[in-house]
Subunit: 381 residues, 2 copies
């Protein structure tokens, strides 16, 4: 079947482009001697995880235990071939008895480390590990500017690291940050912003080592910063997620070209009620409502819902759940769109878009090769 014959809306992945993205990031990490631990929230699928691990990723990053459980289960159920996943970072504090029990079950099957930023979370985790007679690896989450989770660099990190090192059931493995404020950079400042976060982390690791801790892991995240920060000596691990598909946020940040965006939402024009407007069958239920990133939203990121690929005369300016409203741009050079025409949309943020689909269609050269289950979709716990 040709891609053009797919019913819409459909989430379509260009395999050639995605494979290049996977290889390219893996090569960059190898060249700079850092380990690659992709955040699998972007794709939530067994097939992409296999590809990342096959390209040399040492493991995966995920936010929720349920996502790991779902991927492991789906791999075995769908193909009979277990996911070759030996090492996971849960980049999210695990709080509460029920989740801690599941985490410890998981830790019997593979190496799991958890990031956290409070004595409370550390205490809960350590106590749970002790009751099972085991030890869980912990990374201290550091706030390098994202103002989400994380202790501040310097004394606060040192204090928490000491606490963790002294907590039975926990093994201090290092430090991590999600430098989400990189999304607030411009294409011109991105490199400096990213590398500054890296340098803060490396210096912090030295402080901890001087205090007698081992700190084998200095882990940093985010697709826009990953390539730049991998070049900072002393960083040991990068955790980009979006890079497999890329998206319009990355294009606007200068991180990817439109041609490097591997995933698009195919949509159909269902109405052209005014000369300046065309309505498509893909709204926020098909592309998500994300209009920018946390921790540094620039005005340009707040505009619209994504890019209308190959149609510079049209702006994806408004959306409700089922309706995407394309607006004719000021220059007036838009091709006419008619009812029944197809367009390809590149969402601002691809990760929440993936989470809206049960399956991703995969194509090569315009021919549909099949579809992949979004096995960890909706796993919030």
């Amino acid at each position: 079947m040709q891609v053009a014959e797919l019913d819409t809306p459909a989430f379509v992945v260009d395999l050639d482009v995605m494979e290049r993205n996977v290889r390219s990031m893996a090569e960059h990490a190898r060249q700079h001697g850092v380990r690659l631990r992709p955040h699998a929230k972007t794709h939530k699928s067994v097939e992409v995880a296999r590809m990342q691990l096959g390209a040399g990723a040492l493991g995966l990053t995920l936010a929720k235990i349920g996502e790991i459980e779902a991927l492991l289960e789906a791999a075995t159920l769908d193909s009979g071939e277990p996911l070759p996943l030996a090492d996971v970072l849960l980049a999210f504090p695990i709080v509460g008895d029920r989740k801690l029990a599941r985490l410890l079950d998981l830790a019997q099957r593979l190496t799991v480390a958890v990031s956290l930023d409070s004595p409370d979370a550390a205490g809960q985790l350590g106590a749970a590990a002790v009751t099972r007679g085991t030890t869980i690896g912990v990374l201290v989450e550091v706030d390098t500017g994202g103002r989400r989770c994380g202790v501040l660099p310097g004394e606060p990190t040192l204090t928490l690291a000491r606490r963790i090192a002294q907590t039975p059931g926990l093994s201090l493995r290092g430090i991590m940050t999600h430098e989400g404020h990189a999304y607030g950079a411009t294409p011109e400042t991105l490199r400096a912003v990213s590398q500054e976060a890296g340098r803060v982390m490396v210096q912090l690791a030295e402080t901890l080592r001087a205090d007698g801790h081992e700190v084998p892991i200095v882990s940093v995240g985010s697709t826009p910063s990953a390539r730049h920060i991998a070049e900072v000596p002393g960083v040991t691990e990068v955790r980009p997620g979006t890079y497999v598909f890329q998206d319009y946020n990355q294009v606007r940040l200068g991180v990817a070209t439109v041609a490097e965006c591997a995933a698009t939402v195919h949509a159909t024009v269902i109405a052209t009620p005014a000369p300046d407007r065309a309505v498509v069958d893909a709204g926020t239920k098909a592309v998500a409502a994300d209009r920018g990133m946390v921790g540094g939203v620039t005005p340009v990121q707040q505009e619209g819902y994504g890019l209308v690929k190959g149609q510079p005369g049209w702006f994806f300016g408004r959306a409700s759940e089922e309706h995407g409203v394309l607006l004719r741009q000021g220059d007036g050079h838009a091709d006419d769109l008619r009812v029944g025409d197809r367009v390809e949309l590149i969402p601002n943020h691809i990760c929440p878009a993936v989470n809206l689909y049960d399956r991703l269609v995969v194509q090569r050269d315009g021919v549909v090769e099949g579809s992949w289950a979004v096995a960890a979709r909706g796993r919030s716990r």
Copy 2:
């Protein structure tokens, strides 16, 4: 099980509140002699649909064929008792051979009408109906100010109505509008804005009747406007959706009180990295990223991701996919939140939040009574 024991994030419905909402809207419609055809996109579940139909709704509104298919199938599979649904409005132009074929299959099982706003969509639908030797009811979608789909009132509507009336396979059943611009009103102007849209529609129906058309249906939508517009003589049908659960947008519009919000997302504090900030395990993957409505977004609607129920000192100011960031409000009277504490969040817009869950937990007086499948979740086609 007590609600407080649920693992988080969880989407929880207070049955008492929801039942009151369902009854109250049904009574209001009855009192004013209009038919109620709720938009089921809000809940996407068989159980709520049964409740609405049981309370006197003449049928349902949905946007996508797949949503109707899913509800009908789930009703029969889950309970063996078919959904007593005899009449559906697809409030979305149906375009393309594959969808038209499914629509006509559906029309063999129940009465289906379709709204549309173009000769192209009308022509496709009529031709498809003719090949099956049947007739499909059509409502002309009118743009009363929402600037999404819809022909303008007056001559454009008249022209399209005539075209539909002359198209084999189509039966002109009336006119409809989604007065989405009501979301741009204030609590003070909402009544006037809503009723003005109603009057435009009634006058338009008279114009069409004077032209020789029957126009049995004058259908209007949206939860904020439904009660006001039902009072306009000549309106025959209202299509509110959100009213079953209500949400923070409705609270800000003065349409509902917080106590009338039947659905909340239960979340757990996982970090308190700074005195002015608490991070919960419910981000946009748990509440959706909607920051306002299409067609009239006021600045206040763009702020934040929802209400922290019962915690006026905290503002749900930022969110990424897995993290919700609660910010201490300026007044400084926020209760302290500690790691492990639970909060209830009322999303800005409840409909896309529902679409993120496989099941809705239902409770009464704090005791979990069970859960309902979101049977039509993700059905975008």
